[in-house]
Each structure stands twice: as structure tokens, then as C-alpha cells.
């Protein structure tokens, strides 16, 4: 007939369970052959997000700016932070973190929110989480534009070619998040509770991730955090350093610090000496120029991401046949 080109012309459905290799191959061909559908859905999703507001897509620029201003106000005025160029320091980690939370947070409704569609027409459901991650990239790009604008026009000192590494870090982050999106979007169909749990987890993650603070501030929050966590570890009988290890070694933290390294630069504490006596009277945070990210760390996170994506696709494809029954 030639009318329909992207959907299969003959369908055989039974309760056969294809093996893992076949599942992954199916998922891959589904995404590739239905790329136009993905494009349409991303476009619709992006359009929809700005449709009910007066300012529309202007909010995508205003949103990160306002968030940044609030935190800058709170941290510098109320908490008296002395980090140099704090707004850029904050924004360089906030923008990628927002991308992460927005993607993971909305993954729980990627499938459940399309209930009508799933019960109405046959299409590969795997494109739903893929669509979600792609449409979140769009808002990330707007946030990134704000960050780079502030970086370039307000903080001239920080401008180096190291920002060219941002796409690489973003790709690693995308792959890392993708697997989680598959798993969460599929499992939430069966346990809606996950949506609530994820919301709280994201709130916790915001505070334990280096956004308002950095591991590079050795003399500052980093060190104090470490000693505080050791206290918790002692009272719960955990091995010393495990909590700090989890917080500092988790992929989200490492990614955020990578962004910060290439956009903002590094921080170091130097001793402040009394000019008259030559004695050390305190410490001060100084800013050092941007450096390339730690490639080994990125490679490890990427590998973890690939493994999670494979697991995620398997989980999703395995659960997919039950979606229409449960929803």
C-alpha cells in the first residue's frame, strides 16, 4: 500500500518473551524508525510547556535567573558566604542540576501521563521516556544560554576555552540519566508511590550535592561537612568516611563539579598572614583559573550510564506489555 511506512504492516502478538538481545535490538529499531514521531512529540511537549503563561518561553530564561537570584540573596546576605563571584559559582552547578532533577522528576509521569494514548493506539512505548529526555534538553539549553551569557558578559575573568568541554560533560550526564528514566518511567506504572519518593529524594540531593557549596572549598563547607558527617557515622556505627564518600563520589556530584571546573574555575584556600608580624591569622578562599574536567571520572560515569541504560531498556521492554492492562 505504501501509505504507512514507519509502522509495521503485519503484526503478530503473543505472549512470547524475546531474549535480552532481541529486546535491546527492538528498542533501538523502534527509536530509529519512529524518530519523526519522537520529533513531533518533543515539539508538542516544548510548545505545551510555554503555552499557558503570558511570558511563554521567556520563562525558560527567567526561571534560572530568578532561582539564582534567590539563592544568591539568601547565601550572601543571610549566611554571609564569602565565595568569590558567588552568582557564577552557583549558576554553573545549578543549571545542570536542574536539568537532572527535571528529567528524573518528570520521568515518573512519562508513561503514566500518556495513559490515553497507550490505550488508544499501538506504538512503541519506549519512545515516551526518550521523548521526555530530549524535550528536557531544550530547557537545559536555555538555562545554559543564561549561564554562558552571565559568564561571558559579567564575569570576564572566568572566560577561558575550557567551556568547550561542556558538551562532553552534558553527553555523559545525558547517558547517565537515560537509564534511570527508562527504569523509573516503567516501574512507576506499577507503583505510583515512586513519584512521591523521587520528589523527596531530589530535595535531599539538592542539599547534599555541591551546588550551594563545593568540595573545592577545603577550608569551607567541604571540611566542615566531612566532620559533621563523621559525627553522624559515629552515632549510627557506620564506618568512618562512608557518608562523605557517598556524597563526594556519587556521579551527580562529580558531574556538577566538572561543570563548575570548566565554567567557573577552581577554588583554593590560602593562608592570610598579618602583614606586620608575618603570622597566619586566617584562611581565605581564592579563585583559580578553569581547568579541563577529570576525564577518567567522566569515562567511569559514562560506562555506568551505558550499563544503566541497557538495564533500563531491558526493564522497560519487559514491563511494556503490561502497561495497557495496568493503566
Amino acid at each position: 500500500m505504501g501509505v504507512v511506512s514507519e509502522a509495521p504492516a503485519a503484526i503478530r502478538s503473543s505472549n512470547d518473551r524475546p531474549g535480552p538481545v532481541a529486546l535491546i535490538r527492538n528498542a533501538f529499531t523502534d527509536v530509529v524508525t519512529r524518530r519523526r514521531l519522537i520529533l513531533y512529540m518533543v515539539r508538542a511537549d516544548v510548545k505545551k510547556r510555554g503555552v499557558n503563561t503570558v511570558l511563554g518561553n521567556v520563562w525558560w530564561v527567567l526561571d534560572p535567573l530568578i532561582t539564582m537570584l534567590i539563592y544568591v540573596l539568601v547565601m550572601t546576605v543571610i549566611f554571609q558566604r564569602s565565595t568569590p563571584d558567588f552568582p557564577l559559582f552557583l549558576l554553573s552547578a545549578m543549571v545542570p542540576f536542574k536539568w537532572f532533577t527535571a528529567t528524573v522528576g518528570s520521568s515518573t509521569s512519562a508513561v503514566t501521563g500518556k495513559e490515553n494514548l497507550i490505550k488508544q493506539i499501538l506504538f512503541p512505548k519506549i519512545i515516551l521516556p526518550v521523548t521526555l529526555t530530549l524535550s528536557q534538553i531544550v530547557s537545559f539549553l536555555f538555562g545554559m544560554a543564561v549561564l554562558l551569557f552571565v559568564w561571558f558578559f559579567v564575569y570576564h575573568d572566568h572566560v577561558t576555552w575550557q567551556v568547550a568541554w561542556i558538551p562532553l560533560i552534558a553527553v555523559v550526564q545525558y547517558v547517565f540519566v537515560l537509564g534511570w528514566t527508562f527504569i523509573l518511567s516503567a516501574v512507576t506504572v506499577f507503583y505510583r508511590d515512586i513519584g512521591i519518593v523521587i520528589g523527596h529524594f531530589m530535595r535531599l540531593l539538592f542539599w547534599i550535592s555541591p551546588i550551594l557549596w563545593s568540595f573545592m572549598e577545603v577550608a569551607g563547607r567541604g571540611a566542615r561537612l566531612q566532620s559533621g558527617l563523621e559525627g553522624i557515622e559515629r552515632s549510627f556505627g557506620l564506618p568512618t568516611g562512608i557518608l562523605f564518600g557517598i556524597i563526594s563520589m556519587n556521579p551527580v556530584s562529580l558531574l556538577l563539579e566538572s561543570y563548575r571546573k570548566v565554567v567557573y574555575g577552581r577554588l583554593a584556600s590560602v593562608d592570610v598572614t598579618d602583614p606586620e608580624t608575618g603570622q597566619v591569622i586566617g584562611e581565605q578562599l581564592v579563585w583559580l583559573e578553569a581547568v579541563p574536567p577529570d576525564f577518567e571520572v567522566l569515562a567511569i560515569i559514562f560506562t555506568i550510564g551505558v550499563v544503566f541504560t541497557i538495564i533500563g531498556v531491558l526493564v522497560f521492554k519487559r514491563l511494556e506489555p503490561a502497561f495497557a492492562k495496568v493503566l
Partner: protein, 406 residues
């Protein structure tokens, strides 16, 4: 507001119909000819007369030993808590299975229009979902050859924030139709839906009738090999109904397979050249649509009667609600009703006797009161009324009351 919009949009319909999409014009004529022919052949069905005889082609849908099982442990309202309870309690672990469909063998050839009828919950919609491939069989196989177009619900999976035009494009992409083909089809869809300027307004501003029009227009315009319709044909005004009837006749003309689920027997008898009766997830009859429609209507009448009888059982305390539920599940409700008819009759007679007794006692009491008042001489106005009551009470075999009095 929505109603007035509808009317405004329907006004130019008569004109619109004549200028239907040029692509379909020839088919339209064919369909009209077929209608005329069918009218001549079957004057008894002149109200619709759309039944089209098309030579049966090859197999479009084949279902073999199809079974759909729902796991009741995982319904929408499942909580983590209940799952843990199910895991911990071995009695509950395998409790929640329900076969919505089982052992269904079903073949549809090209050119066939099959109507699926049955009571609520007999598995009609489940069957359609399975044929569409949306529900995976728990056992058995469903094979379809050809492109499927489904219209299974009124909102047809539309995105309410997008405009009608965007939704048409999205639906095309969902069905996997080429962009250039979609560009060709879209004007025809818009013309058929005939909702005027609303086509560029967000779908949330549409009335349900307008949505149904767009959905129906898309589903039938994409030139599907197999068209699956679920209970969507009742909506819309008469003009649109008539239009959609003609469109279905067209789809049939081009030797497509149609499977529809509806409660409206007139659609089954007018359109389908075959019908299937489902009962509790099984096909119990398959054949001529008129016969099946009759059968279904008789069944419905029988069920209504059974329901009434079962209610009586409960009312008279012969059987509890749980017992009736149990009997219905085991299919022994009819026997139960049969077996307990005597008891019901007894209970009824008992109740009647009690009521009569009560009435008699009341009458006797009133009569006694009247008699007690009568000697004092006043209340002459009440006397003529009280007298016949007392008389009738006495004549009404109320020995007890009288006995008590003396």
C-alpha cells in the same frame, strides 16, 4: 456555548458534503450506488440500507485461542502496602487473576464488517484492544495483516493543549504515516470533521462532539486496511452520524476489514455482514448480524429478568447478597432462582398475610374507637365515615379484632 457552536458549524454541512475530498469523490458515488442498490434489495431495512456486499478476500485478522488475563494485584489502585501484604500472605498471592477473554478463535477476512455485541463486561473492548495489538495476549496468538487504524475512545488519545491540526499531524506520526501522505490527507480530514476555525484552536476548547468528529475523520481517512471502532459512533448530531455511516460504507467498499463494538443494534444490522456475541469472555455465537442482534436483545431481556428475580430473593430474605454473587460467579443463579421460587412464593404469601393482618387490626381498632364514640352522640359528621370502615373491617374476616373487642 458548545451547543451553539455545534449548530453554527453544522449549518454548511449540506454544502460541505457535496464538496467532499476529491480523492474520495468516486468512492462516495460508489457508496451511494451501493446504498441505493441495498435499498432496492432489502426494503425492510430501508432506514439505513447501507449493508454492502463485498467479496470476501484474504484473512485480515486471525486470533487463535486468544486469552487476556488481568492481574488484579496490579490495578490502578495498587499500593506498595498491598503488594507487600500479598507477598507475605501466601493465600492472597495468586488470588487476583481474571480472564477477560479466553479461548477465543476469531478470523476476519477483508471485506468483512464484524460487529461485536455482548453485555457490559463481556470482553468486547478487551477483544478490540487485543486485535489492535495494544493488549498482548496472555495466551494464544493474534495476527493481523495490513495497517490498522483504531478509534477506541472519544478523546482518541488527543493532546488537549495542541490544536486540531497539530493533533492530526501527531496522530499521523503515531500511526507511522509518511509526512507527505499526511499532508495530502489532512485537508480531507479537516473538511470531513467540518469544525470550522476550531481546527486551529487548542483541543481543550472543543466540545466532545467536535473531538469525536476529528477522531473519526482521522481514523477513516488514513486508508486503513483494518478499522477498529469501539462505541464511538453514537456521538455527534444526526448529520454527522449519517456522514460517518456513509464513510464506513466507503471503507467497506474498498474491501477493508472493519470490527466494531457497539450497543446500538441498528449499526450492527445495517453495517455488519457478520456479528459475534460475546459472553463472559467467550464467543457464544457467530453469524448473521440480524440473528445475533436478536439473540443479544433476548439475552439482555433475560438478564434483566434474572436481575429482577435475584433482587426478589434478596428482598424476601431467601438468599443473601453474597450467596447471589457466589451463584452468579458459578453460573448457578438460574437454578438458584428456580429452586427458590417456592420459598419466594411462600415468603410473598407470608408477607401478604402479615400486611392484611396488620390492616385488619388497624381497621378493627378504628372501628372500635368509632363505636366507643357513637353512644355519646356527638361527631355526627364522623359517623357516616366511620360506619362503613367498621362494617368493612367486620366483613373482612377480622375475627381476631372482633374477638378482642368482645
Amino acid at each position: 456555548m458548545a451547543g451553539s457552536m455545534d449548530e453554527r458549524n453544522n449549518a454548511p454541512e449540506a454544502v460541505e458534503e457535496r464538496v467532499d475530498s476529491t480523492r474520495d469523490e468516486r468512492m462516495d458515488e460508489d457508496a451511494l450506488a451501493a446504498i441505493a442498490e441495498a435499498e432496492n434489495q432489502a426494503p425492510d431495512r430501508s432506514d439505513f440500507g447501507l449493508k454492502v456486499d463485498v467479496p470476501l478476500g484474504d484473512v485480515a485478522i486471525r486470533a487463535e485461542n486468544l486469552g487476556i488475563r488481568y492481574n488484579l494485584n496490579f490495578t490502578k489502585r495498587t499500593k506498595l502496602r498491598t503488594t507487600f501484604a500479598n507477598i507475605l500472605d501466601p493465600r492472597r498471592r495468586n488470588a487476583g487473576h481474571f480472564w477477560a477473554l479466553r479461548g477465543v478463535d476469531f478470523t476476519v477476512r477483508r471485506g468483512e464488517a464484524v460487529g461485536i455485541v455482548g453485555a457490559n463486561g463481556s470482553g468486547k473492548s478487551t477483544m478490540l484492544l487485543a486485535l489492535a495489538g495494544i493488549l498482548k495476549p496472555s495466551e494464544g496468538v493474534v495476527e493481523t495483516s495490513g495497517h490498522i487504524s483504531t478509534l477506541l475512545s472519544l478523546n482518541a488519545g488527543f493532546d488537549n493543549e495542541l490544536t486540531g491540526r497539530e493533533n492530526i499531524a501527531l496522530a499521523g506520526a503515531l500511526m507511522g504515516i509518511d509526512e507527505h501522505v499526511m499532508a495530502e490527507i489532512t485537508p480531507g480530514v479537516i473538511r470531513f470533521a467540518n469544525i470550522g476555525a476550531f481546527i486551529d484552536a487548542p483541543m481543550k476548547t472543543y466540545s466532545s462532539g467536535m473531538k469525536a468528529r476529528v477522531g473519526f475523520a482521522i481514523a477513516t481517512s488514513v486508508d486503513p486496511d483494518i478499522l477498529l471502532l469501539d462505541e464511538v459512533l453514537q456521538t455527534g448530531d444526526n448529520t454527522f452520524k449519517e456522514k460517518s455511516r456513509r464513510r464506513i460504507a466507503q471503507v467497506l467498499q474498498t474491501a477493508k476489514a472493519v470490527v466494531m463494538v457497539t450497543h446500538d443494534m441498528s449499526w450492527i444490522t445495517a453495517f455488519c455482514n457478520r456479528a459475534v456475541l460475546l459472553e463472559k469472555g467467550k464467543i457464544v455465537a457467530d453469524g448473521d448480524p440480524d440473528e445475533i442482534a436478536d439473540m443479544h436483545e433476548q439475552d439482555a431481556a433475560k438478564r434483566a429478568k434474572q436481575k429482577r428475580k435475584a433482587k426478589q430473593l434478596m428482598l424476601h430474605g431467601v438468599a443473601s447478597q453474597d450467596e447471589i454473587k457466589q451463584a452468579r460467579k458459578e453460573g448457578t443463579l438460574d437454578d438458584m432462582i428456580q429452586g427458590k421460587t417456592g420459598e419466594v412464593e411462600e415468603a410473598k404469601a407470608e408477607k401478604r398475610r402479615q400486611i392484611q393482618e396488620k390492616r385488619a387490626r388497624r381497621k378493627a381498632r378504628r372501628a372500635a374507637a368509632a363505636r366507643a364514640e357513637a353512644p355519646t352522640g356527638n361527631g355526627s359528621a364522623a359517623e357516616p365515615e366511620a360506619e362503613p370502615v367498621a362494617a368493612s373491617a367486620r366483613s373482612d374476616e377480622s375475627d381476631q379484632g372482633a374477638g378482642k373487642q368482645s
